[in-house]
């Protein structure tokens, strides 16, 4: 009986520690990515400025720009197609010369739905960059995110979406869509 109890305790302890250890192991993205806030780098345009971040870690040098665009007209259909992403996702702020590399895909975060699309950017310094544009909507309002860097696009997209899902960003996204 005592031996059985000890085995059971050992099994439970191992299990608990295993779960703890599993939870402590960061996902590949979290392990090496940190987005550090920087100043909004673009001149004033029709929409209020948003927030900008630079990546430290495996996507070092990549930058992310996010902001709300309140008063989007397609209140019911939302972000309906890839052309909409081309128009609204702020990729043109980074460079007016961009080309989509593939059809976009549906994305959702923070209960917002829309589309993401990858682009090649023709930068003024002649160095090619990859970019991801994301546009999601809530009723008549848009939230857009654009990331760009020299790294690989799919990793950058995972990192930006993971960042937008963090508690801090979730709260800010909803507040900015409320006009706060």
């Amino acid at each position: 009986m005592r031996r059985g109890t000890m085995i059971a305790v050992a099994v439970i302890a191992l299990g608990v520690s295993g779960v703890w250890a599993y939870q402590r192991v960061p996902s590949p993205v979290e392990e090496v990515v940190h987005w550090r806030e920087i100043a909004w780098p673009f001149p004033r345009d029709g929409w209020p400025a948003g927030r900008a971040f630079r990546c430290d870690g495996t996507c070092a040098g990549a930058e992310l720009y996010v902001r709300a665009k309140r008063g989007f007209c397609n209140c019911d259909s939302g972000v309906a197609d890839d052309d909409e992403v081309d128009r609204v996702a702020d990729i043109d702020l980074i460079s007016p010369r961009f080309a989509a590399v593939a059809p976009g895909e549906e994305v959702s975060f923070n209960e917002l739905r829309g589309r993401a699309r990858r682009y090649d950017l023709d930068m003024s310094d002649g160095v090619g960059h990859a970019a991801i544009g994301v546009a999601v909507s809530r009723r008549c309002d848009l939230f857009v995110a654009a990331a760009q860097g020299r790294g690989e696009a799919s990793g950058m997209q995972r990192a930006m979406l993971a960042f937008l899902e963090t508690q801090e960003m979730r709260g800010w996204v909803l507040a900015t869509l409320d006009g706060q």
Binding site: R70, N74, D76, A80, R87, I91, P96, Q180
Partner: protein
């Protein structure tokens, strides 16, 4: 002493009640007006309204009024004339006696809510004025939600007959139709273009047999383009073959552009939508502030300006009135207003003046709904053309401007209708929910050749027919009423 206290308390009470009154409209309160008077009303079956077009056919005056889609609360309103639910479409109202408008027919539109349904836009031409039209017909061009343009014969306005349908679009909006040539500038979303709204030009001189002329837009919007996509079209206005200009307004409340286009080159130039071909008919383009869009670009060419009468040159000016559209409720954006551009030197257009309703004159940012401009009358009938302009200003009602000196436009009258039980609420998001208010949302305005002014409400309050009074009437050169 006690009397002084009572007087002070009374003053405070009066001031606060006035303030509250100015902030909030209440059912049963009278309209707010200056130099404009209500003649008649119709509730338009409590449908959200966009473009009114008033047409003189035979000995009758008929108002054709486009509607947005339904609302969250009432997606498909009941037509009391049929007892059936009908998606918002086109209201047809006999306004021959403006004091007693008679609702003739509701023509259903596309099912859908707000801008995703309805039949917002409407223009009307007589068959006898079109080069190859049926002289006995009266043709109504309307949008059908976001998917089609339609032409109906409304010679019997109570019993319209469908003639033509151009479908397969991803959006539609504020079109223009030349009644003397039949050329129509349709605002569409052609499926392969990169923008929601661009121009599809058709020859509707024979409405039963429409001929496509070309697609048009700003370079970068065409199929296959890459890079930044220019601001989408809102609406064009053509001066016809004699004026040979089309004035395109791009944008709603942001990144507006006035584009001046040579009509002949547009219609007869190379039509393949390449960047060079799209640039070919353009005379000039005036970008506006990123804060403002161009909903309406209303040309008033060859205007005599009294101040310049003694000048050796430039006595008359070509003016375009540009009206932005406010989108967000309770002043959640930069002010959308009215601008006047001098385009006399066409390649160097210049903004010369502006107009807005003073916010403090009615605490309009606190009243609820949108505050700012939306659209102007577009009739070029002599009764008001180049003299008086009427601006729909959402919760500030309609504003009458004396524009005889476009360098110094001056408000001479206004009318803010009373709300009714049909007036829909307007909400803004607040933490964890929404806060709603009810206010007039005067969306569009048009005039007829008799001088009546027709305003319609986006928040379902219906149609109000107005006339000028007092100094505003004198400024327009109308006889005293």
């Amino acid at each position: 002493m006690f009397r002084c206290v009572l007087t002070a308390a009374g003053l405070v009470l009066f001031a606060s009640s006035t303030f509250v009154h100015a902030q909030k409209q209440t059912i049963g309160a009278p309209p707010e007006a200056s130099n404009m008077k209500l003649v008649g009303t119709n509730d338009l079956q409590a449908r959200s309204a966009y473009q009114p077009t008033i047409h003189h056919q035979g000995d009758r005056w008929i108002a054709y009024i486009g509607h947005h889609g339904g609302t969250d609360d009432v997606p498909v309103p009941v037509n009391p004339m049929t007892g059936k639910e009908e998606p918002n479409g086109t209201s047809i109202v006999d306004v021959t006696d403006p004091a007693h408008p008679k609702y003739l027919r509701h023509l259903p539109g596309q099912e859908g809510k707000y801008e995703s349904g309805g039949a917002q836009m409407v223009r009307v031409c007589d068959g006898k004025s079109l080069p190859k039209g049926d002289p006995n017909a009266v043709y109504m061009l309307r949008t059908f939600g976001s998917e089609a343009h339609e032409i109906w014969n409304v010679a019997d306005p109570a019993n319209p007959v469908l003639i033509t349908r151009i479908a397969g679009l991803k959006d539609t909006h504020k079109s223009w139709w030349e009644c003397d040539t039949g050329i129509a500038f349709l605002v569409s979303g052609a499926p392969d273009w990169r923008t929601r709204r661009m121009t599809q030009i058709y020859d509707f001189s024979d409405p039963a047999h429409p001929q496509k002329i070309r697609d048009f837009g700003l370079p970068g919007q065409e199929p296959g383009a890459t890079g930044a996509v220019p601001t989408e079209l809102h609406g064009p206005i053509s001066t016809g073959p004699n004026g040979n200009r089309v004035f395109f307004g791009y944008g709603t409340n942001k990144g507006g552009i006035l584009q001046i286009v040579d009509r002949d080159k547009l219609l007869n130039g190379p039509k393949e939508p390449t960047p060079d071909n799209l640039r070919y008919p353009e005379i000039s383009r005036m970008p506006m502030s990123a804060f403002n869009g161009a909903h309406t670009t209303f040309p008033m060419l060859d205007m005599p300006v009294a101040e310049f009468a003694e000048d050796k040159d430039g006595k008359t000016r070509d003016i375009v009135m540009i009206v932005d559209e406010a989108i967000l409720n309770e002043c959640g954006e930069a002010r959308q207003m009215v601008w006047f551009a001098d385009v006399t030197t066409e390649t160097r257009p210049m903004m010369i003046s502006s107009y807005t309703v003073p916010e403090a004159s009615g605490q309009f940012c606190q009243r609820g709904g949108r505050f700012g401009s939306h659209s102007s009358n577009e009739s070029m009938a002599p009764v008001y053309y180049k003299k008086m302009a009427f601006i729909a200003f959402f919760n500030a009602g309609v504003r009458a401007l004396d524009i005889r000196d476009p360098y110094h436009p001056r408000e001479v009258g206004y009318f803010i209708p009373s709300i009714t039980s049909a007036t829909d609420k307007r909400c803004i998001p607040i933490e964890g929910g929404a806060r709603c208010k009810v206010a007039i949302q005067t969306n569009n305005v048009e005039t007829d050749d008799r001088g009546y002014i027709y305003i319609v409400d986006r928040a379902n309050t219906g149609l109000h027919i107005l006339e000028l009074t007092g100094p505003a009437r004198a400024a327009a050169g109308l006889p005293r009423n």
